[in-house]
């Protein structure tokens, strides 16, 4: 039996007093072997990031390692002083972070940053450093390595930056790599490439990799073994195939059941009705860059239309233009027969009711200073209800979205992300809109919460006969809620059809690429 390269024994990290639990990580144990990818998977707050920072000897301020060992070969890393640890970081154990842009120094070129690692850990001469930096960049499958080396981080894309970060982590050929959500900030197609690269590191170079993620699709694509964390404890650890297909712990089962399927749900077929939303020749530009090119959409009541695309494709701009948070350069957006774009600002204020929006960020979309009841009721008041009516409508809406009536006087800080999103939904519904736009409204949520909010939206949509425009980057989410799907690329609609058509038999090459890049496609 080959000994593990990294062995974690009964590791505990305490949280500061007054937190909701005493430990960020409690009694965690696992082994990592060379040439293996161990995925640590869990929802937000499960302690997976704290665990990874403890392995690097850098727990966040206020937290401290209270027990256990982190054995790197024979050495226990836990009692090491910061100065001793500095020699190990980068040389024996290296880390890849979530935000590639934030982990690179914007003031230095890529070459300078990679060479800096050699300066810290090795005594190569200048030519040798440059040669090795170039070799690393080449091995990352980056196009035109010479240009990349001379570039500053802002001149590279997110995926390129992440590959540079990986190159830096690999500079000293460390045995252990710790990757904390390394692909979460990337688009799916870029994610697929980076995952492929990380797989190569394992297969060709035999690195042992701890891969932290919240995404079971990614786990299915890359993991050899999986550890599932909940409330700071590892509840299940085992072979990837076993954990994914025959999970033992109830929590793992629940998490896996919540992963949205790529197969579209059966949706009731409705008789053709006149569209309540009709977008014609909508176009917009930032300077000379066309971000929306003659968008045409049409949506009858009681249907859900998903707009799918990667970052920068114009889908959020489209949402904002439809609801007039930005003024489009031209086109029509008819809601229940009225062209929203043609209204004067005072006329618009009275028609705002008809088209409402649920925002992406559950934390940024509610004013932290205002109580949620009056916030929702204000919408009803603006839509023309009396004060008493607004109050009672708000209370029934709170119940409708699955919150308690007693939540009326509470502030957003008292709610979790999923609950806040429910508040946001109630706020939009208080106006009794004809069309609801959901802009990445479940993207920031954990998978189990996401499933609940999606179920709520489906339920509301049927009960209230709402027309919903659902904007998302996630094909799985789109499959779970849409009647129709529109695929956008570079400001244009490249494919449209029913959910079954688009996901089952994609026509456009870009749609095919998106589908192939969807993580965990073979498993879920």
């Amino acid at each position: 039996m080959i000994p593990p390269i990294l062995s974690v024994r009964n590791l505990s990290v305490s949280l500061p007093k007054g937190a909701d639990r005493p430990y960020a990580v409690h009694d965690a144990s696992f082994d990592l072997h060379a040439g293996e990818i161990l995925c640590i998977v869990g929802e937000s707050g499960s302690g997976k990031s704290v665990l990874s920072s403890a392995l690097m000897g850098a727990v966040p301020e206020g937290l401290s390692v209270t027990g256990g060992q982190v054995l790197l070969g024979e050495t226990d890393l836990v009692p090491l002083r910061e100065s001793q640890f500095r020699a190990i970081r980068g040389r024996d154990i290296a880390m890849i972070f979530q935000e590639p842009m934030a982990s690179l120094n914007p003031a230095l070129t890529v070459a300078a940053q990679i060479e800096e690692v050699f300066e810290l850990h090795a005594d190569f001469d200048r030519a040798e450093r440059a040669r090795r930096a170039r070799a690393l960049v080449e091995s990352m499958h980056l196009p035109n390595p010479d240009r990349i080396l001379k570039s500053y981080p802002h001149q590279l894309s997110g995926g390129q930056c992440q590959r540079v970060v990986i190159a830096m982590a690999l500079a000293m050929n460390p045995g252990v790599l710790i990757a904390d959500e390394p692909t979460t900030a990337l688009d799916v197609t870029t994610q697929a490439q980076v995952l492929k690269l990380i797989g190569e590191l394992r297969d060709l170079h035999g690195h042992g990799i701890v891969f932290i993620t919240h995404d079971f699709g990614v786990v299915a694509d890359i993991a050899d073994r999986v550890a599932v964390m909940k409330h700071g404890e590892i509840v299940e650890i085992g072979d990837a195939r076993q954990v994914l297909t025959a999970p033992r712990h109830d929590y793992t089962k629940a998490l896996i059941a919540a992963v949205p399927s790529l197969t579209p749900r059966d949706r009731p077929v409705l008789a053709d009705a006149a569209p309540v939303l009709s977008v014609q020749k909508l176009h917009h530009a930032y300077g000379s860059v066309q971000v929306l090119k003659d968008i045409e959409l049409s949506l009858p009541p009681g249907r859900v239309l998903s707009i799918v695309g990667e970052s920068g494709c114009g889908k959020s701009t489209l949402a904002k233009a439809m609801i007039r948070l930005i003024e489009a350069k031209g086109g029509r957006v008819e809601v229940a027969g009225t062209d929203i774009l043609g209204l004067s600002s005072s006329a618009l204020r009275h028609k705002r009711r008809t088209i409402q929006m649920i925002f992406q960020d559950p934390f940024g979309s509610l004013n932290p200073r205002r109580r949620i009841g009056p916030m929702i009721a204000r919408g009803a008041r603006l839509a023309g209800a009396s004060a008493a009516e607004a109050r009672s409508r708000t209370e029934s809406l709170l119940e409708l979205v699955g919150l308690q009536k007693s939540a009326y006087w509470r502030k957003p800080g008292a709610f979790s992300g999923g609950q806040r999103q429910r508040v946001g939904i109630a706020r939009a519904l208080a106006m009794q809109p004809d069309v609801l736009i959901a802009d990445e409204s479940v993207s920031a949520l954990d998978v189990s919460v996401q499933a609940q909010v999606l179920a709520l939206l489906r339920d509301l949509q049927q009960r209230l006969n709402l027309a919903i425009v659902f904007i998302t980057h996630d094909l799985r989410v789109a499959a779970q809620i849409s009647d129709e799907i529109v695929v956008m690329q570079k400001g244009e609609i490249v494919e449209r059809g029913t959910a079954a058509q688009v996901l089952g038999a994609p026509q456009h090459p870009y749609t095919k690429t998106l589908l192939e890049a969807a993580p965990g496609r073979g498993t879920f």
Binding site: I323, L325, L348, R349, H350, K351, R352, R353, I355, Q356, M357, F359, Q360, D361, G364, S365, L366, N367, P368, R369, R370, R378, G379, L382, A383, G413, G424, R427, M431
Partner: protein, 281 residues
């Protein structure tokens, strides 16, 4: 509410600052009961601190060259400074906050014009500005308030404009817009409450500056017309004889410093506590 106040009371800087500031407020409010003598009545000139009054009682801080009791003048002077500094600061805030909200929320041309005007005013040294204004329009309580407003409002405008620009880009403001909320209501109910933290700190500091300004104007002979008791005027009147009779100058100076110190400490403490709270959330 109690939870919100507690961390402030646990901070020694806040407590000392509040004791000094509110101490002077208390003195100002209770001046008629605290002052041993009438502040403008001439009794005996140039008595040293602690000297006995032949008519009974003592002059705790001495008397000035016109024979007025310095302690009583300081106590009544607190009224002048508290009333006018507060009035001037509040007016400056009304103007600065209103214009800052408008410029930060609407941006574009409104912002360009207002910011330009603010920069013009800010490019003058404040004291020169005050002197010019007072010399031109004359010294009166109303004119002092006007001058301070004119001089301070641009700085407040800049703070509020910056915060407004930041807050106005948040989704909850977009949500209010899509509800059909009127712009002024968004500014007042969504934007302004999120600016209260930095503004409270600035208010305390600015109150202190204004108190000093009123003192300085008094010292330069541009303050409130005599015989109104005013700390700055007292320092100015005692200046000529300060070597022989230091008490004429020292006590009013101490009064000004302690009020200024109190307000500065209060501002620092408020910032410390609210920063700490900001980090926690």
């Amino acid at each position: 509410m109690r939870k919100a106040i507690l961390p402030y009371l646990a901070n020694p800087v806040v407590v000392v600052g509040a004791l000094l500031s509110f101490g002077w407020l208390f003195v100002a409010a209770l001046a008629p009961w605290l002052a041993p003598y009438d502040p403008i009545k001439t009794i005996l000139p140039l008595m040293q601190p602690g000297a006995a009054n032949p008519a009974g009682g003592i002059f705790l801080l001495g008397t000035d060259m016109l024979g007025r009791d310095i302690l009583s003048r300081l106590i009544y002077g607190a009224r002048t400074v508290v009333v006018f500094a507060t009035l001037a600061t509040v007016t400056a805030y009304l103007v600065g906050v209103t214009l800052g909200l408008i410029a930060g929320y609407w941006r574009g041309r409104v912002d360009a014009v207002l910011s330009y005007l603010a920069n013009v005013v800010l490019s003058f040294p404040v004291l020169v500005l005050y002197i010019v204004i007072i010399v031109v329009i004359g010294s009166s309580p109303f004119n002092i308030v006007l001058a301070v407003t004119f001089g301070s409002a641009p700085a407040i405008f800049r703070i509020v404009r910056g915060i407004t620009m930041d807050v106005a880009s948040r989704d909850y403001v977009a949500a209010a817009v899509t509800q059909g909320e009127r712009a002024w209501r968004i500014m007042v109910f969504d934007v302004l409450p999120n600016a209260t933290g930095p503004l409270a700190v600035d208010f305390c500091l600015r109150l202190g500056y204004t108190a000093i300004t009123i003192g300085t104007l008094g010292f330069l002979g541009l303050g409130l017309p005599p015989p109104t008791p005013d700390w700055g005027t007292m320092v100015n009147e005692g200046r000529g004889m300060a070597i022989a009779f230091p008490h004429l100058v020292i006590f009013p100076c101490l009064a000004i410093s302690s009020l200024m110190l109190g307000l500065s400490l209060l501002a620092d403490g408020l910032r410390e506590v609210s920063d700490a709270q900001g980090r926690r959330t």
